[in-house]
Amino acid sequence: MTASNQPETAEAPLGLRRFFAAFAAMVELKAGPEDVERALGASPSGTQRLGFYGVLARRNRFIALRQLCPATRHAALALEPPVWEELVTRYAKQHPPSHPDPNRFAEGLADYLAAERGNGRPFPAYLEELADYEFTEWCVGVIDFESSAEDPGLERTIHVRHYNYDIPGFVADFRAGRVGPAPVEEPKAVIIYRDVRTQWAKSFFPTPLGLAALARRAGRTLKIPDEMASALDSAEIDLETHGILLPRARTA
């Protein structure tokens, strides 16, 4: 029997199952140490010390989002009143981390913020754009995909967004230590991508022709007037120059 087809369905024995159920509720911030002790008996270390694992769990959620979405956090803290604490607490309760990689904890943050705003919470729209940008930037940097001249990696190492605020500019300023409280409202398209030369995540403001060139490279059918063909080729070369696309062979 090979590793891949051996069943892995054995269930933990009853005593352990009871333990996991009670303790998991605490580290998912849904129960306190008193609840754990009611279900399992007293900890020899005392209730308060047992509850430290709930404290740790909450702390870890804050650390994960602070590390992955620092500009989002900055903007949330700059609001009056600051909403970061409340935002993370509510998000963590509703979205227990569902991936072994702690960075993936931020995956649902933008959608959560959008939904909360839709429900009347006073979260400005740029928070969800910031959360989306920071998470997407992380994703394109680490995703296990090698682009080729034929397959540039659209939706994998290249993501196209339309933001209503200058999100890349805000994040760049934040990293340079010269950021204001909120991004400037400035609707534009953004390409978030892994530079094919350095492998680092970057962003780029494409022209409409640049977007068309990207779509063409990704195999999308486009109706381009003949007189625009050379302009489209130039736009494609521009994307190559910025490391968005791998250069492809061209006839002279």
Partner: protein
């Protein structure tokens, strides 16, 4: 599965913050530890970094999410991806923690302790054996920090770790800092806690710094230099364990590379001194 001891000396963690300086350094680095999940699941700059590091230093992979003691079915898909990474690295063994990290497909990103019961011993041992089978290499399990004894526990830490390793055939990744923290946080003698672990099965050692929280509980933060008390305990460990690779873990508030390498130099000096003393003791001991 016996372990060929190819990697020796003192390593440091391959961390994003240290990488630019690491590429340039001419100081001695015996090996690098990488967090396996960061490289088995990811490509891009991480793969490039791994390949560049592997060209210069031996690498050891260490995991944080196998959840050997956990309730969820082992994630065979992830383990097979991990195996591919280990194969590419030519890894002789794999290590993770004797703990649980997930339940009901929720991942806590914490190394959670288990109730130390006979039931948990059997459960962990069976899963550890299975992980080792899937990865087709020996498994090392690390003694973790516990801030509270779990309700229902009937074994002490040393007895629990010993029983799991004996029943599973796994080896010990001895975290000296964790042993020290557990002793202090639970009012025990650090040397006694160390002695009760199955030291004869040790195949690697971890060293790290710790910090007290507001209530005086020592936290395993990996964000400070190794304390003098842990250096002393490390010396005791080397006397008993002998020559195994040792890692300096510095994962938070990471300082300049030279500061981390100073810690590695200190560990190497202690190792060299104690191994020489051991060799001398062996050579001068009277024939039976």
């Amino acid at each position: 599965m016996p372990i060929a001891r190819r990697v020796t000396g003192v390593g440091i963690g391959l961390r994003f913050e240290l990488w630019p300086a690491l590429r340039e350094t001419e100081r001695r680095v015996d090996w690098l530890e990488l967090i396996a999940e960061n490289y088995s699941e990811h490509g891009g700059w991480r793969r490039r970094q791994r390949d560049e590091a592997a060209a210069r230093w031996p690498l050891i992979a260490h995991g944080v999410s196998t959840s050997v003691g956990g309730p969820d079915a082992l994630d065979v898909t992830s383990l097979l991806r991990l195996k591919r990474l280990l194969d590419e690295m030519g890894a002789e063994f794999y290590s993770d923690h004797l703990c649980w990290t997930s339940s009901d497909s929720h991942h806590y990103h914490d190394l959670l302790p288990l109730p130390r019961t006979d039931e948990a011993v059997r459960w962990c041992a069976a899963r550890a054996r299975r992980v080792s089978e899937i990865l087709e290499r020996p498994l090392l399990l690390e003694n973790v920090t516990y801030y509270a004894t779990m309700p229902g526990s009937v074994l002490d830490e040393g007895a629990f770790v010993s029983a799991v390793l004996a029943e599973s055939g796994a080896y010990l990744l001895l975290d000296v800092n964790n042993a020290y923290l557990n002793a202090v946080n639970h009012g025990q003698d650090p040397l006694d806690v160390l002695r009760r672990l199955p030291l004869e099965r040790t195949r690697q050692i971890h060293l790290a710094g710790h910090e007290p929280d507001e209530e005086g509980v020592l936290l395993d933060r990996h964000g400070a230099p190794v304390s003098d008390a842990v250096w002393s305990l490390f010396r005791e460990a080397i006397r008993r364990v002998g020559d195994v690779p040792t890692l300096i873990e510095w994962d938070n508030d990471i300082p300049a590379l030279d500061r981390v390498l100073d810690e590695a130099d200190r560990a190497r000096a202690i190792q060299t001194e104690e191994l020489a003393r051991r060799a001398g003791a062996v050579q001068t001991s009277p024939a039976p």
